[in-house]
């Protein structure tokens, strides 16, 4: 299907990304659903336990014709811009794709796309990791992130198989295979854990440290104003914020810490830097999802809001439509703009440039669509203020909350952090002469 374009597509001179002219809405990540099914059945799964029902009609795995088209579109897009983008294999469980198809795709992509600009990663439950697959990932410089929520008793709260049995041992076996692989240092990118707010962060953090993961990240559970996240009493409650506060205190007290992404991003934003993930900070984020039938969709997390929330009206498919054409559509620009919160309270909030309004999926209500603060607003607030307090405790006093009295400002126009801590590290020599006594 031909895309009805609304703007000329051009390479942004600053970023090197293809964007609709004047939009700045680039492509950051292409999420490839190599499988539309999963071999386990997590209680909180946003794909199979959420509002979406479209997955039932999708091919279980990507077919050759779609895999070929995906590779063609990725290579084609890379050839039209200077900047890179991330490629993520996802599902369902992406390793349900037959090994031969997986190997052919990864080898073809890696021959054409360098790992420095086009990182390829796999998000897996780890149960299907085996030496042959790991050798393939090492050969194609594909990194592996494994989903595990903590020690067995924590992991078993949500991550069970279709018969209600624990998946912990199988996941742990996969992680040990990763750790034992000769290329482990480049293969294993880290673990991803869904927060169970009723579980002690100490038990989870301690387990993951002992597991020797090279990095950790944590996800808030899915939810919105119509369906509160598990463990959250009401909009004003801060169960998740308190959990993150305990986590950062453990992290900062650890004499040999490994990076914890959700905390690192928040600290860097408070220091005037940028987040590396969507849903935090003031940067827009461009993502396209390719389903097993080749359909090009929006950010797949939107499907937690309502059935079909992630679908473009054009129902474009990689077999007939190039990615640049999708980027030039008003629908893509609008979907990328969704990161910018619209509600007045968010736009006036002094913490907006750190929390970024949270991910759009957390803002949803049937009554007001996405025109709400995040259902995690109070959690974000207590956590960010705790981060600021901790930074102050270390003598980093550049960030102070202040009113943002211009609700109509452009999201990118003026950072709330006018004089972030980072200003002193712009040039250490210059900064020494700029330093003034603290008058606060």
């Amino acid at each position: 299907m031909t895309v009805s374009t609304t703007a000329t597509i051009e390479v942004d001179s600053a970023s090197g990304h293809l964007c609709a002219a004047g939009s700045g809405k680039r492509l950051d990540t292409v999420l490839i659903k190599t499988s539309s099914r999963c071999n386990i059945d997590c209680s909180y799964c946003y794909v199979y336990r959420g509002q979406d029902t479209k997955w039932r009609g999708l091919p279980k795995r990507m077919r050759h014709i779609v895999l070929d088209a995906v590779q063609h579109r990725l290579i084609e897009h890379a050839g039209r811009q200077r900047a890179g983008f991330a490629i993520v294999l996802h599902g369902g469980e992406p390793l349900l794709l037959e090994f031969g198809r997986l190997a052919a795709m990864l080898r073809n992509l890696r021959v054409r796309l360098c790992p420095e600009r086009y990182p390829i990663s796999v998000q897996t439950n780890g149960t299907l990791l085996n030496p042959r697959t790991l050798d393939l990932f090492a050969e194609t410089q594909t990194t592996v992130s494994v989903s595990i929520d903590g020690p067995k008793e924590v992991n078993d709260l949500g991550r069970l198989d279709h018969r209600g049995r624990s998946t912990f041992a199988m996941t742990l076996r996969g992680i040990h295979r990763l750790l034992d692989h000769p290329a482990c240092n480049t293969l294993f990118s880290g673990t991803l854990s869904v927060i169970q707010p009723n579980v002690s962060p100490a038990s989870v953090y301690g387990f993951l440290r002992r597991l020797r993961t090279p990095s950790m990240d944590f996800l808030l559970q899915d939810g919105n104003h119509d369906r509160l996240p598990p463990g959250k009493k009401n909009f004003e409650s801060t169960e998740y914020g308190q959990w993150l506060i305990k986590l950062i205190d453990l992290y900062l007290a650890d004499p040999a810490p490994v990076p914890v992404r959700i905390i690192d991003d928040t600290i860097k934003l408070c220091l005037g830097g940028s987040s590396q993930k969507e849903g935090r900070g003031k940067d827009a984020y461009g993502i396209l999802t390719i389903e097993t039938d080749g359909e090009i969709r929006k950010n797949d997390t939107l499907r937690t809001s309502f059935d079909g929330a992630d679908i473009f009206s054009g129902r474009w498919n990689v077999t007939s439509t190039d990615l640049a054409s999708v980027l030039s559509s008003q629908e893509y620009i609008d979907s990328a703009d969704m990161q910018i919160p619209t509600c007045d309270g968010c736009r006036r909030c002094q913490l907006l440039d750190v929390c970024g309004g949270g991910m759009p999926l957390y803002r949803w209500s049937a009554e007001r669509s996405y025109d709400n603060p995040s259902v995690y607003c109070h959690d974000h607030a207590v956590f960010i203020r705790h981060v600021i307090d901790r930074l102050h405790g270390f003598g980093l006093k550049g960030f102070t909350e202040h009113a943002n009295d211009s609700p109509n400002r452009s999201f990118r126009a003026r950072p709330v952090i006018d004089r972030p801590v980072v200003s002193w590290i712009r040039s250490e020599a210059d900064c020494q002469s700029e330093v003034q006594p603290n008058v606060s």
Partner: protein, 61 residues
């Protein structure tokens, strides 16, 4: 409930930020803060591997 007006606000606000302060020895030596300060410092000066990731994923470093 209209959540649009229920965003938590701080006890006090200031219109301007205080002067910068040099990092204390503790922040410069802290393993997490030292690394993050270095990453922020180099964000716009060093061309690094593309590392923006989807929320469901963690590539690590």
């Amino acid at each position: 409930m209209d959540h649009r007006t229920a965003i938590p606000q701080p006890a006090s606000k200031t219109d301007s930020l205080p002067p910068m302060e040099t990092p204390s020895a503790s922040s410069a030596k802290h393993p997490v803060l030292a690394r993050l300060l270095d990453e922020v410092r180099n964000e716009n000066r060093v061309e690094v591997a593309y590392d923006r990731v989807h929320n469901r994923h963690n590539r690590g470093r």
